[in-house]
Amino acid sequence: MIARLFDVVRGTDPALASELRLPDADGDAELPRLVARTSATPRLAVVAATTRQRDLLTAAADGAGWRTVGSSADSVDQLGITALILERGISAVLVGSGDPPWADERPRLADLARVVAAAVARRPELDVIVAGSMTDQAGLIQRPGESGEATRGAVLFGPAAGAGSPAGEPLRVLLERLRAAPDDGRTAIVRATRTLADVLDRRIETIEVGHDAGLRCVARPGDAVATEGPGSAIVAAGALVPPDPDDEIVDGILGWSTVARDRHRLRDRLRDLRAVPWGDADGDGALLRMAAARAAVGRILALTPALEPAGAPDLVIASGGVWAVAPGPAVTLALADVLRRPGVSQYAYDHARLLGPLGTIEDEGERRLMLRDLADELLLPLGSVVLAAGVRPGRDAGHLLVNGAGATSELDLMPGGLQLVDLPPGQVATAAIRFRDPVTLGARGRKFEVEVAGGLGGLLLDLRDVPLRFPERGDRRRELLAAWQSALWTGIDE
């Protein structure tokens, strides 16, 4: 592919090819490369003395991109804990307690430490994270100093699951560092998002839905200097279709589906989608994909409440291959269906998947320079969404006047509906919105004047409920979803 690209550049602009020092047609291309890759989500065994503590530890690990499987000494015997740690798919063990330990876990800690120590001694390749006051038992868990074992895992000591603000954040950061390889694509997207927020001077929220995990990053100008800290989470449950989808996941996708399916058939389709994620991308496969994407975004939001921004971000970036097959306006709608935050946001798609590679640039200044240079081409503008909450039902909700590039559009506002105003990519306009009754649009009021940017979907005026409300009956729910979607998806019935 790179060779073909070089051929095109040499053929169309030899001077540019020379300036870029492109190799000759038969020469080897040895240009600088940025490499970002997402790997399979590793599994973490979470072990604690009590179920309550295990759940706290699991919550911290869930936001660090691990797929967790937990066990606690109050519900499983030592045999069960040993079997879990010896399971072949486990890559690391997190064992922890409160700091100070809670009364119900204190009597079990020493025995638990011995069980874990014996099990990990049989799997020297495992990384072990000892958290909270469990570190007092570290002498039991430390591995004897043997040299010459290349595959030997590390023993790390971390804070308790309840430590930090928000609670669990320091442990989450430690676990993410342990999980992520230096070229980890998702960590790089977080870094690029932060730099981009600074470069564009915008509050940005990036949502990525991937094959094996999802990502959410909320960044404000000035965050770029802080390479770590609250503001991002990588969630295994945010994968488009997690492995072995349970009833809750299947029902979540069914809830967004516009096609009538029973749970079992849908589960079969989802398993096949996971096995061949780029296959079956047209026809009702495309609709299924968007339903699964909505459900995945919903799961990511549900698992990352601490990241919820105070108001709608200026820019929402969608990332991940799942968005590649649907028309731009349909992608905007899918995101607006789930991100029900009153306000005005621009939506864009990381269509060339450049956020990851650019995020691997170590030097902050160099990264900033590159993102500034590429800012206009980096993201595909999907459009702007004006989402108002508290619009009263009735015939007329108010009036919209859009002024931009010598053209003016006017529209009567329709309560509970979706309306589109044509606004091509690259155009910026001013939208003057006058509501009949006070609504919430960032602030509460009746008159607003906001700047909106164009995109593939233009300006989407969303006066539906916040959060969305659906009919009880499944068929009516599907009809409603289909009606919203068909208005923004050209050729959906083909």
Binding site: D77, L79, A119, R122, D272, A281, D282, A286, L287, E494
Partner: protein, 343 residues
């Protein structure tokens, strides 16, 4: 051993996903639980059916004084009672050996219990790794036909091709004559036929697709069987294509037909059918043979014509397409990602 059909340069076929018909010398993992006793060592050659381990049923924890252990004993080692008392306290009178779990307060806790079930080698090979309580890694001397999912097993038997590549296996097609066989069921098998197959002593099913609900039910049933006193022999299902209905790919089906009557085995990690394959029966499909693996045309096979570029498909979606001759009046466009070729 794998066939590598040559591809005409510039045809674009090289961008189509390649599906390996067979995998030579696959490395399979046979899981163990704490308390299971491995009976092989790394580097050891084994024949099909050789004892690899004894599996414990209802493992429990027993306590043994540390001074009953030989020096240097550690977690995962096997302990057997040497007949001296050592002040042993046991939760059952017949506990005399087990796998050491951990040491606490001058005593060792060990996993023990009756071991009525034997884990046998599904095929001949070399033991590469033995991890007590975790599993045994075995490098198979033959080859394997990969699938996408498997449950149960490992199970071994003679291969019996009952229907066609796109047929359904109904319960009426199964009788005791197929006891001990691994049955190729074609496109689909329902829950009733699965249950009957198991009751008839069939060792395994190879099928293009099974509903995930049926797989889950059989997995639960298999787990109950393992916990029962009177066990049936191991049973396994290998899914070759996916969960949505479609026929077995014709090169794979041809391969299975060529192997009919031979001893084969199903293992779950990775999901694969282990076979003793000679080059003569390895089908070499034409290099331009492609198969639609997903979408409304899933299961159809045809001849590669060439890349079609970015095209509009169902629901107004634009995708990279390919032109394929599926035996109809004229070639049709298929999304490139829906296709696979064989190698």
């Amino acid at each position: 051993m794998t066939a590598s059909p040559s591809i005409a340069a510039g045809s674009g076929l090289e961008v189509v996903a390649l599906r390996a018909l067979v995998r030579p010398a696959p490395l399979v993992w046979l899981p163990l639980a704490p308390g299971d006793r491995p009976r092989v060592t790394p580097g050891q050659s084994v024949l099909a059916g050789a004892l690899l381990a004894e599996r414990v049923r209802d493992a429990l924890i027993a306590t043994v004084p540390a001074d009953a252990m030989a020096p240097g004993t550690g977690p995962g080692d096997w302990w057997a009672d040497d007949g001296r008392r050592h002040g042993i306290r046991r939760t059952r009178a017949d506990v005399a050996e087990g796998e050491l779990l951990y040491r606490a307060d001058g005593e060792w806790r060990l996993a023990t219990g009756a071991r009525p079930e034997q884990l046998e080698a599904p095929a001949a090979g070399i033991v590469r790794e033995v991890r007590p309580g975790s599993g045994i890694s075995l490098e198979i001397a033959g080859a394997g036909i990969p699938g996408v999912a498997a449950i149960g097993g490992p199970a071994r038997g003679r291969l019996d091709v009952v229907g066609g590549a796109d047929g359904d296996l109904r319960s009426g097609s199964l009788d005791v004559a197929r006891s001990g066989a691994i049955v190729v069921a074609g496109s689909r098998i329902d829950a009733e036929a699965l249950t009957k197959a198991r009751a008839m002593g069939v060792r395994g099913i190879v099928v293009a697709g099974v509903a995930s609900r049926d797989l889950r039910d059989i997995a639960a049933s298999e787990a109950r069987q393992r916990a029962s006193l009177h066990r049936l022999p191991p049973f396994a299902i290998l899914v070759l294509e996916g969960h949505v209905r479609q026929p077995i790919a014709s090169p794979v089906f041809d391969l299975l037909l060529g192997l009919a009557g031979q001893e084969v085995a199903i293992v779950g990690d990775p999901p694969i059918l282990l076979v003793d394959l000679s080059a003569e029966i390895l089908p070499i499909p034409p290099p331009d043979r492609v198969r639609v693996r997903r979408g409304p045309l899933a299961g159809r096979e045809g001849r590669w014509i060439g890349l079609a570029g970015r095209r509009r498909f169902g629901a107004g979606v634009y995708l990279e397409g390919a032109r394929v001759d599926l035996g109809e009046d004229r070639p049709i466009s298929v999304p490139l990602a829906d296709l696979e070729r064989f190698g």
